[in-house]
């Protein structure tokens, strides 16, 4: 065996564009290259996959990383990291369910590298920020060199299991979050295999706004969004449950009806992380708990149920 030369695969081409225009040009020129932001999804198992011909590295690209406030809402760059989301006071104050979701992704190292755009494009049924994007009526903005930008409601962005409507010459640019109406309550709840570095078994993101509530009076629900993760091949909104909520008054009877409706609305699977049975019951419990908590005067933080996780 002596004299044999080690076989080495040639290193792939690596491009780190300085501007979005350059990035879009490179994307159009090399549709088969791997787009990498934080790399926290694409690096997993990468040694077991064939190497891509090239890498388009977007991490830190300024035009993709900004979080900016506009008249209609907040624009979060696709390249914004979880750490950036967590630092941003407007995200914390106006979009607590996204803030809380970011807080529970992986652990500090992953939060420093992982991006919102990466989560959206991996489009895993267990992507933690995805139910919040549904509950917050988010829109995604994508762009290509040839056709310029376009905006798509997030609810229509996922086309099938881990597939999105991104064209091969497009890049994800930003996520737009409309300002929630004043008084909108938000809930995030992640049930993972443990408290950190955990893939979700069930997630709930929900928003609701009450009208006519006051001391001793719960009022009626004027607006509701209920989104679940890890119970289907993609994150889902539950229109039947939302319909039950709107116009109703949050009380234990409503919570019970909602529990039933959630059970009927989803058909989760059993896999290595959990069972169908458990996922269905827990999803139903989490939504019912949200309804029960709406009856309480004010929502203390976004997640009273999760306890003192740091």
């Amino acid at each position: 065996m002596s004299g044999a030369t080690p076989t080495r695969t040639p290193a792939p081409a690596w491009l780190r564009p300085a501007t979005l225009a350059d990035a879009l040009a490179a994307r159009a020129a090399h549709p088969d290259w791997l787009v990498v932001a934080g790399g926290t999804d694409v690096m997993v198992g990468s040694t077991r996959r064939p190497e891509p011909p090239g890498v388009l590295d977007l991490f830190g690209l300024a035009e993709l990383s900004a979080i900016t406030e506009g008249p209609d809402g907040l624009c979060v760059g696709a390249g914004a990291t979880y750490a950036a989301l967590l630092r941003h006071p407007t995200v914390r104050d106006r979009f607590p369910c996204l803030h809380e979701a970011a807080r529970e992704v992986g652990a500090l190292q992953i939060q420093a590298r992982g991006t919102l755009g990466g989560n959206v494009q991996t489009s895993s049924p267990v992507g933690d920020t995805l139910p919040p994007l549904l509950a917050l009526d988010a829109e995604v903005e994508v762009a290509s060199a040839a056709r310029g930008p376009r905006r798509v409601p997030y609810a229509a962005w996922i086309t099938s299991y881990r597939k999105t409507a991104l064209a091969t010459d497009e890049l994800l640019v930003a996520v737009h979050l409309p300002w929630p109406a004043p008084g909108t309550r938000q809930r995030w709840r992640k049930v993972g295999t443990r408290k950190a570095q955990a893939i979700s078994k069930v997630m709930l993101a929900a928003t609701a706004r009450l009208e006519g509530d006051g001391p001793g009076r719960p009022g009626t629900i004027a607006h509701a969004r209920v989104a679940l993760g890890a119970v289907a091949d993609r994150p889902v909104r539950l229109p039947t449950v939302e319909a039950l909520l709107v116009g109703a008054s949050p009380d234990p009877a409503l919570a019970e009806r909602v529990r039933e409706a959630v059970r009927a609305a989803i058909t989760p699977i059993t896999d290595v992380r959990s069972t169908a049975d458990y996922r269905r019951e827990v999803a139903a419990n989490l939504v019912a708990r949200f309804v029960l908590d709406l009856a309480a005067p004010a929502l203390p933080g976004a997640d009273p149920g999760a306890g003192g996780a740091p």
Binding site: M1, V202, V272, A309
Partner: protein, 753 residues
Amino acid sequence: MIGLGERVGASPPRVDGAAKVTGAARYVDDLQPPGCLVGRTVRSRVAHGVLRALERDPGFDWSDVTFVTAADVPGRNVVTLIEDDQPVLVPVGGTIRHHDEAVALVAAPTKEKAEAARAAVRLVVDPLPAIFTLDDALRAEVKLHGQDNVFKRFEVTRGDDVERALAACDVVVEGVYETGAQEQMYIEPQGMLAAWEGDTCHVTGSLQCPYYVHKALKVTLGLPAERVVITQAVTGGGFGGKEEYPSMIGAHAALLARAAGRPVKVVYERDEDVAATTKRHPSRVRHRLGLAKDGRMLAADVDVLFDGGAYATLTQVVLSRGVLHAAGPYRIPTVRIVGRALATNHPPHGAFRGFGAPQTTFAYERQTAKAARALGMDPVALRRLNLYRDGDVTATGQTLRGSVAAHPTLDRVVAQLEQPPPAGRRTLPQAPHVKRGRGVATYFHGSGFTGSGEERLKGQATVAVAADGVLEVRAGSTDMGQGATTTFAQIAATALDVHVSQVRVAQPSTDKVPDSGPTVASRTCMIVGGLVDQAARAVRSKLEAFAAEVGLAADDPARGDLPALARRWAAARGELAETHTYRPPAGIRWDDQTYRGDAYPVFGWAACAVDVAVDTDTWEVVVERCVHAVDVGKAINPTIVQGQIDGGTVQALGWALWESVQYREGKVLNDRMTNCIIPTAIEAPELETLLVEEPYAHGPFGAKGVGEIPMDGPGAAVASAVEDALGVAMDELPLLPEVVHRRVRAGRAGGAA
């Protein structure tokens, strides 16, 4: 002279600490001798079948690949341990007995090429029907071992006929308890490096027991003892997982290196390690406990089943320890314990911290909790009534003579519970859907080898003045992170009255250190540490005599300077080596035939209380408080000892609540750290660890074992706490939220809740 802060009983920094935190420590994967090839293992993709052929893809470039099969084994194709039934590589025509079993080996200049070569080997297999459950193993329609699939059966009896005794009891509590497999999940995956120098084979790697590997490789390679040299590299965790399996990897690396004529390193990927190497035995224990109305335990009938997996490996020894602990630390006049280890087509289960005792402890402590409820008694009071005291007689007929701390450990826990819980702990909110409960457990763990094991082993340790004049401890016991090196250095330094830094602990290598016996069974500090202590004292008196011989005046301060004397000795006379061999204390008797007598030289004792909160929306269990008192005889280095207890406690909580190895058709489904979940620092409660020191007369400075006992009891305490919170029996581990949910639903349906 040794400083106060270094003496036995103080906690000087670990002698291996600096190298580890600076990255200077060299693990096996850091070793890269010139020309070293990457070795990979070709594995079975079925759980049971006859290997008809191994086909190599003719289109693949094999020119720089070394390929090894069973036909290339120069000695016997077995991993020598107890029964010699496990092949190093399944031969063509032979039987594959579990998924991911090794059938061939490849080595190549790069990892990529080795991976590709492995993928270019095709196995032709005639599948056979397989066994994956204890019930199927018992039915024995498929026969994997003998006529009944029983690897080993043990029986321990004491007192009357057990049926008659149970019939006479006021209350009989009965339960069936199941526990799952558990992965050791050491941070450093397994790996070995082999290199031949002429006709001598050198193997270095991540391992617990150099002499186990030595014994096995002599047989596989057909070599005399002196031509096989096994060295431990810095090892990143073991927990029992590196007790037996390194013999397999060492043999593979040696065979590849022999065929390639170059060094070969085989380091497992995480998924391969989780899929193929040994785990804790899944178990099912049926337990009947009879009591008098006043709470006295009168009779216990215990039936223990372990899933041994595909080969005998260490299973019978694990079963033995499980059986010997199965009646608990309680005075029970009539006992029958029957233990059987069964053959299945799972990868072999093996050594894991606790070694069979956690499984049977789970059963007897759940029984104790249920008995308290059945009698309407306080669970602590019931234990106080029955716990062993000095002079009591165990199930094997062993009279406990000294160092019995069953009551003191429980008393410490009870006292601690009166104190407010630690600040900063993680709790769930106070809410109607959050239920709370408390569980208690008391248990014991034999230190050292079972029965006559230590007598047979005749472990040795040496303290020497090395050729370079340095005082050196030479032992075959390894440090895998548990602190053995520091403990030995401290014992020797205290005995020699020198600074810890003036003692060197030799890297374990079979050509340099004696066989101290394996680094297992809570024996390293107590047994081998005792030998180090004796040998060090012998060296000290030789050097002191030497001082007189060379004419140092009695009041010359140089007489007290042992390191200087050692250097003078080395210059004048060369090496000085004092080797001591273990001899059991007088009066220890054990009969392997009847399984009666002194099962262990001494026991460690422990008590644990756990408070849980259960969120009934998600069925997640949060351990809000965990008080754990453990008797260690004497804490040589209290920081290290507390580290052992803290770590063992969290590992036990992991086994109780999160850690689940899932098999499908004998294959591990969750073979990554992302899905083979172990607890993190967030899950770990603010541990309230309490050291109790009930000295053992024959241990060094009174020390006895500590490594395993913290693993034994917290599982039962957690289950009892969850049961207390929810009012539904929790008789299996792990109590994943899915399991708690299933049991609550079944309990409601059955009207038990």
